[in-house]
Amino acid sequence: MNILSARYWQELSEGVGSSWNRFWFTAVDPLPLAIVRIGTGLVTLLYLLSFNSDLTRWFADNGILPPAVIRNLESLQGASNYQFSYLFWFDQPGQLMALHAVAILLALALTLGLLTRVTSVLTLLVVLSYSHRAHMLTGQLEPVLSMLLFYLCLGPAGARAALDVPLYRRLGWKIPEQSIGANVALRLIQVHGAALYAMFGLTKLFGEAWWGGEAVWLLLAQTHSRPIDLSWLRNFPRVLNAWTHLIVAYELLFPVLIWNRLARPLMLAIGVFVWLSLGLITGMVPYALAMLVVNRAFIPAEDLRSRS
């Protein structure tokens, strides 16, 4: 077919259009989105609970990063700011602890699927507020967690495996069997997740440690941050090399192979090893779990139901 012919462009347009509509606007069972909701809620709980011991040390008026210090830093950096955090309005330890308790309850309600349409939005605002409150404390987890929570707000995340289900039945409200909104939310998590993987892999390619097979050693050689001492693995350099290469290969192949029906289960299984092992050697367990939640968004409802 000639690229200059009008027919080619018409067929291309129709083909892309129908594929696009099928990809985004097919109604699906909301169960996978509910599973993502539960996983995201648990990671959010872990994230919030990790502030328990240090909340006032960080954010109180006599803390390390009181609102005035953050404002001072921002004015010195001279950058405009598009961040929102209700935590800037409160700097007394009692206020902070009360708000923290409410935040934990909201995340718990989201996990259980209670008033999900409301609690998903509020939990997103909570996580954004914690991470925007002092951006120098944030790491790899927060952008992934915010992304998951944002997309949960778009779909019926409480239509399965949720306390909303009996509540809606009692009120006589309709619970969707199939939902286009659920598909849009899941597809956005999938596409955004695939882009994240591509970014992870590509940025690793810039570093000699990942090419040279030493990166995993460098991670587990960090005596302050590593949660357990696995330095005895230095006696098995080929294992460390293979582990390093596997992580890079996985992250580079994921955005391509995850869309293939046959390769998907394999990619998801390898992902469990990759993320749990990274959590083990770095201590970044919430981040690793958040990425496993992203991976769960690729498991369709029929696979989830056949397992159960």
Partner: protein
């Protein structure tokens, strides 16, 4: 995915078109910021700036977060070491240290609570190694020092960002003087930033930077305090 094929009414068709447009705009923003995470061209920098109100508010933009995890020694652990002294009106060299606190001094290694201290130490080290960012570093050092002094009834402190160089897997390649059997030995610690923080006579907290990166050699003594005064 389980499917019901998208049969569309005219109204639905318009709705799908609007949603499609929003998806394209959203994903354009997301892709632009994600792929400007490590290095960025002028075009990427411009796009990141244009999309910033949206991508920063919802935190789609990870900025320069190190998702590569490590590229080598630059990403070695950094901690904040704070030596505390009882009097603010007297130089610390003439005083007996109350205690030395290493941040993180609490938290669970699995939940991310300790990692916030590492992130702060990174920021202190990065700003501290640049003369242009002295004001930023001073604000952070003052705030860290003040909190730790208040917690421990101290009036003066020495605040440091200390990087611990990681051992190579093959310890036979270590330089002389670095003990192969103790990766936590002081020889592996490098001071990236160091400042005196103290309460002055008016009860205000003052900060004086001591040295930036490259001006302080790896420590050879056993106590952080012993080697720097």
């Amino acid at each position: 995915m389980a499917s019901q094929s998208p049969e569309k009414s005219p109204d639905q068709s318009i709705l799908f078109s609007i949603i499609s447009l929003l998806i394209v705009i959203h994903l354009t923003c997301v892709f632009a910021v994600l792929f400007a995470n490590f290095r960025r061209s002028q075009l990427q920098a411009d796009l990141v700036g244009i999309f910033r109100p949206y991508t920063e508010f919802f935190q789609f933009d990870p900025q320069f977060t190190e998702y590569f995890l490590t590229h080598g020694a630059e990403q070695d652990d950094r901690v904040i070491v704070v030596d505390l002294y009882p009097r603010g009106d007297e130089h610390v060299s003439t005083q007996e240290m109350i205690k030395s606190v290493v941040l993180p001094d609490r938290g669970n290694p699995w939940t991310g609570s300790r990692r916030r201290y590492f992130n702060l130490a990174d920021v202190l080290g990065i700003y501290g190694s640049s003369e242009q960012d002295d004001d930023l570093t001073a604000v952070l050092a003052r705030s860290i020092g003040k909190r730790l002094m208040d917690e421990n009834n101290a009036r003066a402190a020495v605040v440091r960002s200390v990087q611990r160089m990681s051992q190579p897997a093959d310890v036979s390649t270590l330089f002389p003087g670095f003990p192969p059997d103790d990766p936590t030995a002081p020889q592996y610690d490098v001071v990236i930033y160091e400042a005196d923080v103290f309460y002055d006579d008016d009860g205000q907290v003052q900060v004086n930077k001591r040295a930036g990166r490259g001006e302080v050699a790896p420590r050879q003594g056993t106590s952080p305090a012993a080697n720097n005064r």
